[in-house]
């Protein structure tokens, strides 16, 4: 398969990013003072409870929202809106039900017609392991397969940045683990910058170079954890469990009693 190496780039900088939404009885502060630089090719996992603003953070990078304060930069330039230089996978697969897998993947292309487009689409369907299902409609796919198709669509423009918004949250545990391994394989091959939002600490530790822990309401950086473990990581390994404890502690600082249960 002739996938060319990805162009260098995909550096993300968040500088003092804050986000408020207007709400009755005063603005709702969702994110406060987020400062982080994500290197080209890095895999950053963001974990936090529901309502901590982690999805909003991803939407800011995607350009679907604008920060209320601070700036989000991609390769040094401010992000003004959505663009094909960033691929996005939603929690729901969001495939068009009236298009086949192949048509759904081609939907992302600027020029969906022509031999080059057909080749690119075929390559990415193969990349996510969906060859043979090109002409299948989303309604006939399992949840995991639909999410694979969504991944192919997010990657087909060869974006410098891949944004994953809890992409495996609605899948069963086995499919989730399978897709985590797939993501890892694809990332190691494409060397795209990946930002993954999740509420699953194991998932964050299995995949991320670093894990950003967000505090709830407003979301602020509570801790940035380096994950120096070699891949593929063993979920039962001592280092993995040690880091898992560190992150759990960030969530349950006031509820030490839970430690016995989770560890």
């Amino acid at each position: 398969m002739g996938l060319e190496p990805v162009k260098l780039g995909g550096q993300l900088e968040l500088r003092g990013v804050g986000k408020r939404f207007p709400a009755p009885g005063g603005d709702l502060e969702v994110l406060r003072d987020i400062d982080i630089t994500i290197a080209p090719g890095e895999f950053l996992a963001i974990v936090g409870g529901s309502g901590c603003g982690k999805s909003t953070l991803l939407r800011l990078i995607a350009g679907l929202e604008q920060p209320s304060s601070g700036a989000v930069l991609l390769d040094g330039r401010g992000i003004a809106g959505p663009g094909r230089d960033r691929g996005l996978v939603f929690q729901d697969h969001r495939l068009l039900p009236w298009q086949t897998v192949r048509e759904n993947v081609a939907f992302a292309l600027a020029e969906p017609g022509g031999a080059q487009a057909r080749r690119t689409v075929a390559e990415h369907i193969e990349l996510v392991g969906l060859q043979g299902f090109e002409h299948t409609y989303p309604g006939q796919l399992s949840g995991g397969m639909a999410q694979r198709a969504a991944l192919a669509r997010a990657l087909v423009n060869r974006p410098g940045v891949l944004l994953l918004d809890e992409p495996f949250a609605s899948l069963d545990a086995l499919t989730r683990i399978q897709l985590q391994q797939e993501i890892l394989r694809i990332w190691q091959r494409e060397r795209t910058t990946v930002v993954l939002v999740t509420h699953d600490i194991d998932e964050a530790l299995f995949l991320g170079d670093r894990v950003l822990v967000l505090s709830p309401r407003p979301g602020a950086i509570r801790r940035l954890v380096q994950v120096p473990l070699p891949r593929p990581r063993q979920r039962g390994g001592a280092g993995f469990q040690e880091l898992r404890k560190v992150i759990y502690r960030e969530f349950f600082t006031d509820e030490e009693v839970l430690m016995d249960y989770v560890v």
């Binding site: 939603f90 068009l96 669509r153």
Partner: protein, 259 residues
Amino acid sequence: MSSNRPGATRLAQYLLLPIIIAGGWELAARTGLVQNTLLPPPSGVLAAFWNLLVRGRLLMHAAASLQRVLAGFALAAALGLGVGIAMGTSRAGGRLGDLVIQVLRPIPPIAWIPLAILWFGIGESSKVFIIFLGAVFPIVINTLEGIRATDRHFVELARVLEVPRGRFVRQVILPGALPAIITGLRVGLGNAWVCVVAAELIAADKGVGFIIVDGRELSRTDVVIAGMATIGIIGKLMDVALRHLEARLVRGRAAYSGE
């Protein structure tokens, strides 16, 4: 043979009620429960129907009515889809058309007949106009509502992927609205067929409506009912045709069809 049984069962379920109605009706007429001049038995209607058919008049009249319906419906579909899409995809367009559509829509097409005759005479144009009026509003309204029901998530997806507006309308908006659009076309076609008969009852020298008027003047209730039955049958056939069109056009979706 046993492989045919589900099909045979379905056919039986389909025909059961019509057979019961026709049987009861025939019985009521035969036993003198109803006067034959007021309600002739189905066998009498069938005979009148056959008589109309073999003398060639029925097909000629049906063709005349069908031609009017197709002309009025084609106009209504072209204008209705255009206006519905314009109103659905543009907020300003939606506001612009809303009052006019909502005020004109409740006026029954038959109420337009005096003006239609005044403007277009008693020829074909006035009938086509009435049919157009009957068909156009359901097409506009259903197209508009189908478009407005587009999943916001898909709108966001198109934004993320920077899909140009033309492709967005063709690949997201219209396929999503297609079931509603086809419902609008089906209701519109049904209305068109109702309107052609209404228009022909007023003034016509051919058409299925004319058969009914002619039957009434000759006090032939069997001919009147045969004409009515023709209307029903052709209406059903047109609906079947549109359903087939829907099955061909709507892709990737399965709907509930009862248990």
